[in-house]
Amino acid sequence: MVSLFSFCKDRIYYLQGDLKMISRKAIIRLSTLLAILSWVSLVFTDLSIVFSSTSNVAPSVGSHIPPILLSVFIISIFLYYKYRIEKAESINFVDLLWKVFVSGLVATIVSLLFRLLLNLLGNTKLAENVIFLDFIYLINLGLVAGFLVSTFIVWKRLILYQKSKFLLATWKIFEYGLFLSLLYNLLDIPAFTWFEDVYKGILVLIGVVLSANMKWVAFLNFKQKWKGILLIALAMFYLGYFTFTLTGFAVDISEVTTSFQDFRDSIFLIAIMSFIFVYSLFSLLVILFNLPTSSVFEQKLEEVVNFQRLSQSIQTEQSEDRVYDILLESSISTVLADAAWIEEIAEDGKSLFHTHNIQEDEIKRIKAHFVANDVKGILDKGSDRTKNLGKHLATLKGTHFRSMMAFPIYVKGKQEATLALLKDVSDGFNKENAKIIDTFTNQAGISVENFRLLSEALQNERYKEELKIAKNVQSSLLPKELDQNDDFNLVAFSEAADEVGGDYYDTLKIDEHQTAIIISDVSGKGTSAAFHMSQMKGVFHSLAQVGMDPKSFLTMANNALSKCLDKASFITTSYFVINTKKKVVDFARAGHCPTLYYDSKIKEWQFFQNKGLGLGILRNSGFENYIQLNSFTYNPDDIIVLYTDGITEAKNSKGDEYGYDRMLEVVSKMTDKGALGIQDALIDDLYKFTGTPVIDDDYTTLIIKFK
């Protein structure tokens, strides 16, 4: 006995422990095989016991064997259904009930077939043979066990839906209690009848307590509830039928012999039967009583889903129109409106309508009607949105609507649209409806706003990318090397602002004795500035090599650029031609910052005060009248300082400009230094003045020191 018991236990543990490694399919197959084997052995052992007891032959098998086999059978079908039903993912409640119904149906049909067979046999000897009766009884017992266990697993899933820690613990106690009852059956201690009754009582009680958990019912919609009622009622019918059938057989057989496997002795079967019955009854009643309120629950759920849809539309939808469409759909389905419209208010007074079940001319008629009757607080900013409009709408011919609610949709505090909901009946909307739709419209407003912010952010990102390209173009336009000469030393510095500016400088060796030097500042910033700068470079490199004088150069450059600059753009330029043979500098200025010049002979600095007009300002003839050609003879140690207005207009934190005087002061101290020394001193002082590495406009200097 003990060895068999431990064998059985070992076997179970072997199954439970080791099977984790085996796939689900293998467990299902293995448990099926075990169930069949144990049931067949049960049939044989029980029949042989019944046979021996009725024929007064010493039994070849101990009477303790059938209970063991029954327990093994129950455990294996338990395993089978555990893996078939419990582990199956995302099965909905109706599907679960359907499984109960199907397993019950199969069991009932098989059982009915045997009943039919029994009836056909009538009062023949075979029909009265207790062994034959026991056989049919055992078949029924197997079917019932299968039905009970499968239903038990389904009930478990239903009860543990949205489980709490306490519920889970209670369920575990219940399950272990049932398992222990299976083991208790094996022990075969008939003396403790009172104990068995208490045990049964406790299990039934826990079953009743657990049966109070039916949260799943709330999640069924109306149709599903009806299905649920039907399926559960059928399951209860099966249960009743089986109990009746089994009891009938058991009574018949026990008249002849008591040594058969009587299910009434099994605590497990009694407990599980009563549990299944109680839970079925409870759920049937709960579903029944929940039927009338299910539409409310459905509507609440719909509201939540609609709300979610509305907030998700921010990320997924491609346009504001889509947000309004979703708002319209959601509002209609939430308050069950008969018709609705959304009017997007456009700047030019032409509104865009999203409509449902209503034509635009009817909307216009309704609106005109409100205006004509001086109805306030409906389509304008009003406080009470549920005001009874019946009396106003009733007076309007040609519309069958009798109640209406309207809500403004605000984006960044500005009313961008109006949502109007209509119903055929008067007083069709309540405060609750108004509250929900108010939330919806608020959310739609946020969605639209976020959508705009997102588009703006994308636009900015694109703009930044463009700037990056422009900046690269700009820096590639500046010369890598400057043309140096035995007669002068030339250095240049250029630092571009974050926003691309359009500073440009360049040199070109015209011939052996002549070098052209240019410094330019394109008005405006960004890509267009970089673009104009490249045009300037093209103009410089094509015209300078011809060797024309600065005035002609600027005039021709103006002609060329007039055709390609935008209306409000211009370029300031200073152009120099240094002739090292004649030691003469020819220069002209087109609106550019005055050149700073150091005359070493008189040891004086000065800003050239020559006249000039920016390129592109005068785009027809007459430009040359505003340009002066100047020239001077240079001496060793003379200095020319060229710069752009980014330097003179650089501001410090107080808002003061760097200005001409500060620049002059710095460079005048550096007269005996080389070009690079002057440049370093100037740039150093400039950054010290502004106190920040961040610059608003390009800093460009070009310094020439003659030898």
Binding site: S523, A568, F570, G591, C593, L613, I617, R619
Partner: protein, 111 residues
Amino acid sequence: MVDVKRIQEGNYDLITIVGEVDASSSIELDNAIAEAIQSGNKAFLVDCSSLEYISSAGLGVFMSYIEDFKKNDIHIVLFGMNEKVRNVFEILGLDQLLTIRGEKEEAKSAL
């Protein structure tokens, strides 16, 4: 950060520019001048005494209308610029194309 106002004053319109004209606020100046031209008036005085700063974009606005002024026979006189602003106009050479005066009375007589 610029405020441009236009009021009728006798036989001319007085346009007052207050604040700073940079790349972004130049659009406002542009709109104001465009409106002034569309109004059909032919004489304008531009009060620049409260114009604190003007960037190249702002200068570009004035520059872009020089042709229109000529074409429509519009007389426009700027006055009251501070030294810095006037210097900016002069460096670019706009003082040669636009009439710029010191005081309002001078400007009126220059119309």
